[in-house]
């Protein structure tokens, strides 16, 4: 009986430790469920000191406003035809994406969109990299809720295979920058470029968290 009691005294703490371990595992699993949605965060985005879900989500709210503005969204359409104008109507002439995102046959982006903006209103804006995302990685913005878009961007398999460094770098890409220099008569995104870079970096550096909705 004595022996049994001592075994029991020994066993109880072990059981408590095991229960605690299970709880910890469950919390970890819940976290990793989020991480699975944000696979790029798996190894590279800190979940320790610099992770801050509140600051990250707050920054993404600003990022989302920019990404859903016509200057960004128009070339991330849900369909095969790019969008055009501040009202994001279907691009006149209905050019199609093509496999590489550069258009089809005589309707390739670079046939009208020059390496630089063409002067005047209603003329084609330009950039050497002008294109839609390719057909095997469409990176659609149009119609995406904030959460959906955040998860998509943080997903290595849906974001053009970008890791954290590449995502941070993407905000410095010349085609992204072109959104703020889109030629006459086109409204720029709702944040100045430098502020966009700041919130983009904050969102990612703080963990790349997705908002609840």
């Amino acid at each position: 009986m004595k022996q049994y009691s001592s075994k029991r005294r020994y066993f109880l703490p072990v059981r408590m430790v095991m229960v605690m371990a299970v709880i910890t595992l469950l919390i970890g699993a819940a976290n990793s469920a989020f991480m699975a949605d944000n696979s790029v965060t798996g190894k590279e985005i800190p979940q320790g000191k610099s992770a801050d879900s509140i600051a990250s989500v707050k920054a993404f709210a600003e990022v989302y406003r920019v990404l859903m503005s016509p200057r960004c969204m128009n070339c991330h359409p849900a369909g095969e035809v790019p969008l055009q104008g501040d009202d994001s109507h279907l691009h006149s002439m209905a050019p199609k994406r093509g496999n590489d995102g550069h258009g089809l046959y005589a309707m390739k982006c670079g046939n009208c969109h020059q390496p630089e903006n063409t002067p005047g209103v209603h003329t084609p804006p330009g950039n050497p990299k002008w294109a839609l995302p390719p057909s095997n990685m469409k990176m659609v913005f149009e119609g995406k809720k904030a959460r959906e878009l955040a998860l998509q961007i943080m997903d290595y398999n849906r974001n053009g295979h970008k890791n954290k460094a590449a995502l941070i770098e993407h905000a410095r890409d010349t085609l992204v920058k072109a959104a703020w220099n889109m030629g006459e008569g086109r409204k720029p995104p709702p944040l100045p470029y430098n502020e966009f870079v700041k919130v983009w970096d904050t969102w990612i550096e703080k963990g790349g968290y997705a908002p609840k909705q």
């Binding site: 020059q114 063409t118 005047g120 003329t123």
Partner: protein
């Protein structure tokens, strides 16, 4: 001085590098087969080939053509015998004819990249070339015919 290769010939010209290629073709080199339509890349009348791509010469600066091969409607074939040109005559496509050089140059890129285009392929390729006479059905028919001719 700007050096251009147009229809396999070399031209040395004195123009501002920002001059649209169309102006150089028509006003400087006197190749007037390529037409001015809208001036803002909206109609397709000014299409020429730049290294094989169907660019709109009204918005293409001449500096972009340096070191590249430009082909205009005058240089599409040696004797006006490109399958598209033959098909155009066979199907009597043109009405006023103003847009036809651009139409043919666009169609030539389609047939180079797709030897057997469907109606949908033709729509995808030609959607940027406007014909105010509405000869679209004859254009489509001629492209199909040219594709057949090209196989022989």
């Amino acid at each position: 001085m700007i050096t251009l290769n147009i229809n396999t010939k070399t031209y040395n010209i004195e123009v501002d590098p920002d001059t649209p290629l169309l102006w150089v073709l028509r006003d400087v080199i006197n190749l007037v087969g390529t037409k001015y339509g809208c001036g803002v890349a909206q109609c397709g009348a000014c299409v020429v080939h730049l290294n094989g791509e169907a660019v709109r010469s009204c918005v293409t600066k001449v500096s972009r053509a340096v070191g590249k091969k430009v082909v205009t409607i005058e240089g599409l074939s040696a004797n006006n015998d490109h399958p598209l040109q033959k098909a155009w005559i066979e199907k009597d496509v043109s009405q006023c004819g103003y847009c036809q050089a651009g139409q043919i140059m666009s169609a030539a890129v389609l047939l180079k990249e797709n030897k057997n285009p469907t109606d949908q392929d033709i729509d995808n390729a030609m959607a940027g070339n406007i014909c105010r006479c509405g000869t679209y059905l004859r254009i489509k028919s001629a492209i199909h015919l040219a594709a057949e001719m090209q196989k022989k």
